[in-house]
């Protein structure tokens, strides 16, 4: 019966344990926005490349199926934009109205089509929206600009090399071969990436 006198200690420590958990809850702030998709599944989606549309693809879609969103700044949008496009500047993507609009589009099953000055800008916004769970988002692969003071929108040749690099280098080498400047070739570089500080926990037993 020696245990009898000792329950006070457990009670005290249990109360402390509860207090710690309580403090934890009080200091806890639930993140407002979270990424729904993990990085690995995002990468899979990226490899598929089925979310990139050209202007032709856009024409084929029915108007009720999609909503075009212009992610450029409000100022640029005012100067000129694609017909029927809605402006959600990338800076205000978390504003209440933008999120509401995006949610509504998602609920209606409509495709969100993003475009900006350059596919890169649209891609950044797409990466955000896709990872946040707006898997109905797509990119319009276009470049926008102005010509003769009118808004221009053209397909952008994505990741297309402008010249054949290898050939170009070969010809460049021989063409100007007379102007040789003596110089040392950079030494072979040995790249070692040291382990990052973050260590995987080891086994214990």
């Amino acid at each position: 019966m020696k245990e009898l006198e000792r329950t006070k200690r457990i009670s005290i420590s249990a109360v402390l344990f509860l207090l710690i958990i309580l403090i934890g809850f009080l200091t806890f702030k639930k993140p407002q926005y979270v990424f729904e998709k993990n990085s690995a599944s995002t990468l899979e989606k990226i490899i598929k490349k089925d979310y990139i549309l050209s202007l032709n693809d856009l024409d084929k879609l029915e108007a009720s199926q999609y909503a075009v969103i212009d992610i450029r700044s409000n100022y640029e949008y005012e100067k000129g934009h694609l017909k029927d496009a809605v402006n959600i500047s990338a800076h205000d993507i978390f504003s209440k109205s933008s999120i509401e609009l995006l949610d509504e589009l998602k609920a209606n099953g409509q495709t969100i089509i993003l475009y900006g000055e350059h596919p890169d800008n649209a891609n950044s916004a797409w990466m955000l929206l896709y990872q946040m769970g707006y898997d109905n988002a797509k990119i319009l692969c276009v470049e926008t600009g102005y010509k003769d003071k009118t808004f221009q929108i053209n397909d952008y040749p994505l990741e297309k090399p402008r010249v054949n690099f290898a050939q170009f280098m070969d010809s460049a080498k021989s063409a100007k071969s007379k102007k040789i400047v003596k110089k040392e070739k950079p030494k072979k570089k040995v790249i070692t990436v040291p382990k990052k500080k973050k260590r995987a926990p080891e086994g214990g037993c």
């Binding site: 009898l4 329950t7 457990i10 009670s11 509860l18 993140p31 407002q32 926005y33 979270v34 990424f35 729904e36 993990n38 990085s39 995002t42 990468l43 990226i46 990338a90 993507i93 978390f94 350059h118 596919p119 891609n123 950044s124 990466m127 955000l128 946040m132 990741e159 297309k160 090399p161 402008r162 690099f165 290898a166 280098m169 460049a172 080498k173 100007k176 071969s177 007379k178 040789i180 400047v181 110089k183 070739k185 950079p186 030494k187 072979k188 570089k189 040995v190 790249i191 070692t192 990436v193 040291p194 382990k195 990052k196 500080k197 995987a200 926990p201 080891e202 086994g203 214990g204 037993c205």
Partner: protein, 218 residues
């Protein structure tokens, strides 16, 4: 047994019951707590902030300068496909196609804090994708070569001769680019034909980042 002992025993028993109830309630609390999806990586708000910033871009001129000065902290990463990489790439570049981003042998090149990793592709697009993936996971030191190889060729390898009307800086830039172009192989065919680009033979050692090394079965 005395009376006080008996009452004490009841008190103790009650205490145990309360403690048991606390434990049970705590466990029940876990079940009942509203679940939210835990965020992997950085906050989406920070993600946007980083994505909107243009700090990640490094211009071809700056890169050329750093390469010529043999800056040891530069690590070039080619995010194009392997075929394209084999055909041509920048000196000492490592090929990590975007699809291999999480490849356990290649990922340590990206997820580190020693080198300034400069991602490039023909354009910005693939490099940007890789950068965004890293951005979300909080990788530091990732940069993008602005304009990619296209820009590299039109500025460093084959710069345009500036108009006569342009300011002096344009000519200075032009001569820098011209010199840089020579450094990167323009017009050296006769003397150094045997010295093809060396990047493929480069020795690269990556320490393997072991996950959960099954250590010790005691």
């Amino acid at each position: 047994m005395s009376k006080s002992y008996k009452s004490k025993k009841i008190l103790v028993k009650r205490r145990y019951q309360i403690l048991a109830a606390i434990l049970f309630l705590l466990a029940l609390g876990l079940v009942l707590l509203p679940k939210y999806k835990e965020n992997e990586g950085i906050d989406p708000e920070l993600f946007v902030k980083n994505a909107l910033s243009t700090e990640r871009y490094i211009s071809t001129d700056v890169l050329a300068d750093r390469l010529i000065n043999q800056d040891p902290t530069v690590l070039l990463i080619d995010t194009r496909s392997e075929d394209e990489f084999n055909e041509f790439s920048l000196p000492d570049a490592v090929n990590i196609p975007v699809k291999d981003f999480f490849n356990e042998n290649l990922n340590p090149f990206l997820d580190q804090n020693v080198f300034d990793v400069i991602l490039f592709s023909n354009d910005n697009f693939y490099a940007n994708e890789a950068w965004m993936l890293g951005n979300r996971l909080g990788y530091t030191n990732l940069y993008i070569l602005k304009g990619g190889l296209n820009e590299w060729f039109s500025t460093i390898i084959d710069p345009k001769y500036p108009d006569e009307t342009m300011p002096r800086e344009a000519f200075e830039l032009y001569s820098f680019r011209k010199a840089a172009g020579m450094y990167f192989g323009v017009g050296e065919a006769e003397s150094k034909t045997e010295e093809k680009p060396v990047q493929k033979k480069k020795v690269v050692t990556v320490p393997k980042k072991k996950k959960r090394a099954p250590e010790g079965g005691c």
